[in-house]
Symmetry: C2
């Protein structure tokens, strides 16, 4: 490590920092060159493959004092390269198939820089100007993608969007930092609509939840969602004052889809108990298995009982861009609100989520104003958003939609689903693996179970099965961790209670096949590596084999 | 306009988009070059100076269909330049002194690109690795900056931060997209702490607000803040189920600071009415006047009545980095939570806020887990944040803190406050202007009042004063709009009810002097331009003069 060099805090140096770009020969300029012209090469060359324990990494980030003296940019660039980049995650690697990140279109790098250079603030027109109409257009496009089919003709759609897209008192949706804020926003509207002003009661927004409950005579407020719903819904229930225990989870069938019969039953029961049902949430692409709920049936039920229907399509929403796949989300067009993350399958960098509202006036119940901005009648986007100041991320989605076009996105979506089906078939054909959940979109789960163990489990007692499953869980965890640490590839893991296992909790590998650069060879290599790790390990496997031998 | 050219949606083209950077001769590459090496020049050359009406701009963003066919990146780059950049706001211009944006340090441009290229997700370590300890360190630094003085010695501080900064069950704060989410997070914790589990009651997080109120026997929940509090507090009250009417605003004194006597009175009254006081919010840098509340007195009161004390220092927090100015925020070290925006006076691009917690265990009441991430005992940051997936913005603040150092930031902060004082003096010395609020930090308000009108108002009846003030309000609005439209410079406007005007609502110009490139000459020019606009206008001024003549 070089010794620290300090710069002088002079007026002149400060002015330089704000006015003079880095020298083309500087460290930072060189980093930028590599990032710009060979991102994958840069990441492979600079990220250390073998995982360092977190406790070791933390040693580089121990000082809790703001450094007193200024340091040179080039020294900080070196430091970031050595300590931060080296120990980052190559999330865009085609063999990093464990989470919802992917390689991104290259043109987003220069565009992101333009976005930062412009540094617009979307909360109000005075700091965003054309970015506000642009964002309204992007939201309009996404809205039409989701809801367009509810109108009879293209002409009707053209007219509808012409009227509302740029209207001051309409809101087709809200851009935000991610799916969690989108889900909170949707449920916020659902709550405020259910507990709206009535007679002398001024509404929950003004009077609060306690008075609202008393006014409406509800004993509790609930949100209904399948047991595969995202954890952000629990967080939303906490924040919105509903309470985590009032996220009522409905069991799923053998395909991880919500049980419609049980949903109906629960609604009738809740109604009889005088609960206010704030929303039914359908999941379009569960986080763990990529499953889509039967949205049409859910919409029917929501409509029959006059309940807000929200669809969490943070993951699956992009599927609507494929004419070959969008039938899987049928019914979404009846949702009152929809969450979609652009930083997932729309291939935009981190920090871009959105929520769409079927009724462009549904945001009236959360509208707010201030004296210096968001004045009544203004078109400032901030009067209908949970967040305040926000960057111009919608520009990146705008550019992606135009550069890819619907047909380009269709290829990407189809490719990812085909890839997942290929991988599922490969796993199913391998004697030593077990496919746990089939991919409906491009997420699947599986585990390693040697054939001899599989054969035994087919005939052994329930008790033995349970013991072996526990050992297999341990093995899955071990393989997943070891593979991650060795740095070549990454799958994630989660815990499921599949019907086929009599409700026992099973630890599984989880794969997300969204990266368009992931090849069949990479998938085969990942399985091969897992097999090798399992067979080299003397951890769980011997215990399992011993159990079989003992039986 | 050139006719649209379409690219083909082929596998090969898609692969190219994800693997091949833009050609150095392409439009986008040229834009990037200009942004990189002469940002101000690029913005001045490409942003159209004279304002186009919004309705005209909207015409470029009317199509609500996702384009079917892919288009070439260079065509989209041209389109963005023509339609978006041309009609954006030059927020970093030294003469754009109306809002809280500023020029940014140049090195943040390449660093932002690195951030996007790495595309880490801070919700969990598996997608962020070293970014997680880095963010914990940055939050540690900000925490020590705010709270360090509460411990006896530097050594005690070193020990404290060594213990908690990287601990799995401690949280010194949370990075987020901005001050609004930070304020909501702080009040969420305040609410859950006040309504925590007790006996058989499992806490508001689990059981919801209605049961919590019944358990604790409160009639209402309130948050106390001065009438100058930010509008996000009302939004937070709505979201958290408290109700907007239960943001109880306390009048301010002639310096826009909360009236401590009235605060005490109100607390006693609320206690007698069986209200749960969730939090007292001190403002450190009000949005409209840049004023700091008497934080020490507020902290004392909060402590005496055992109420959560939150300080909204979204704007003023950075002042703590100046040893010459930090005394203005004395008392902040006693706050239970503090909001600070990095994208304001810490000179980081849009999308970087944070909330700090005095007690690193205060987030226990909002902790949440999931099966696939945020497992119990993990150091995943997502288990204590309102947001889920988040980008690595903390890297930008990390770099700024090191490159500027405390002494560099001190210069910036001092400079901005001195600049504001200079401008205030200039306004006060101008016969035709009236300073409405003095700058305590670097925000001030004023208006244009011709000397002849001023003289008359000094002697006229109260009724006449009120009529003239209405006319002046109209004039202020007119000047502000006209100046913005002509595109050379920008001040914002707001409405205040200063004591000196007997509670009449006065429209004022509002200036934020944070841009280090704003010179004295620019400030003088802004006044000159306003004077000219006023004198050329035949709108309000004649009516005022007529009124005087008639009197």
């Amino acid at each position: 490590m070089t010794s620290k060099r300090f710069a002088e805090a002079t007026e002149e140096n400060l002015q330089r920092i704000f006015t003079i770009p880095e020298d083309p020969d500087s460290t930072l300029a060189r980093i930028e060159q590599e990032v710009s012209y060979n991102l994958d090469g840069f990441l492979r060359a600079n990220i250390v493959a073998v995982e360092k324990p977190l406790s070791e990494i933390e040693k580089d980030f121990l000082d809790s004092r703001v450094p007193e003296k200024p340091q040179f940019v080039s020294d900080i660039a070196d430091e970031l390269l050595d300590k931060l980049v080296a120990q980052s995650v190559h999330t865009s690697s085609p063999s990093f198939i464990g989470h919802m990140t992917s390689a991104l279109p290259y043109f987003l790098l220069p565009l992101s820089k333009l976005m930062v250079g412009l540094n617009q603030n979307l909360v109000k027109i005075e700091t965003s100007k054309a970015f506000t109409p642009l964002e309204r257009q992007v939201i309009g496009m996404m809205h039409r993608m989701a809801y367009g089919s509810t109108r009879g003709s293209e002409k009707e759609n053209d007219q509808f969007y012409q009227t509302v897209m740029h209207s001051a008192d309409a809101s087709l949706g809200a851009f935000c930092s991610g799916g969690t804020v989108a889900n909170i926003s949707a449920l916020w509207i659902a709550r405020n609509t259910l507990l709206a002003a009535q007679g002398s009661f001024k509404g929950v927004a003004k009077e609060g939840l306690y008075r609202a409950m008393m006014h409406y005579g509800y004993q509790r407020l609930v949100v209904l969602v399948s047991e595969r719903g995202h954890y952000s819904l629990g967080k939303a229930a906490d924040i919105l004052g509903i309470g985590r225990q009032d996220i009522v989870t409905i069991p799923t069938d053998e395909n991880n889809k919500i049980r419609i019969d049980l949903l109906k039953e629960k609604i009738l029961q809740l109604k009889s108990e005088n609960a206010g049902i704030m929303a039914i949430v359908g999941v379009a692409g569960t986080t763990e298995t990529g499953t889509v709920d039967p949205l049409t049936s859910m919409a029917e039920i929501a409509q029959r009982y006059n309940i807000h229907f929200h669809v969490d399509a943070a993951w699956g929403g992009a599927t609507l861009l494929s004419n070959n796949q969008r039938h899987k989300l049928a019914g979404i067009e009846q949702a009152d609100s929809i969450t979609i993350d652009a930083h997932k399958q729309l291939y935009v960098p981190m920090g871009a989520g959105m929520v769409l509202f079927k009724d462009p006036h549904s945001t009236d119940v959360i509208e707010h104003h201030a004296e210096y901005i968001l004045r009544k009648g203004s078109k400032d986007l901030g009067s209908h958003t949970l967040e305040g100041s926000r960057p111009g991320m919608s520009m990146l989605l705008f550019a992606c939609l135009k550069v890819m076009g619907q047909t380009g996105y269709e290829m990407l979506i189809d490719r990812s689903i085909n890839n997942a089906q290929y991988f599922a078939d490969l796993i199913a054909s391998e004697p030593d693996f077990e496919l746990v959940t089939e991919p409906e979109l491009c997420i699947l789960t599986y585990r390693y179970v040697p054939k001899v163990v599989k054969d035994y489990m087919a005939i052994c007692s329930q008790e033995d099965k349970e013991i072996i499953n526990e050992l297999l869980n341990d093995l899955t965890r071990f393989i997943q961790k070891k593979q991650r640490e060795s740095g070549k590839s990454f799958v994630s893991r989660t815990r499921l209670t599949p019907k086929a296992y009599n409700g026992q909790t099973i630890t599984v590998f989880r794969c997300v096949l969204a990266n368009p650069l992931t090849t069949k060879q990479i998938l085969a290599d990942i399985l091969q590596e897992q097999k090798e790790i399992a067979q080299e390990s003397w951890r769980s496997l011997p215990a399992i084999l011993k159990r079989i031998g003992n039986a």
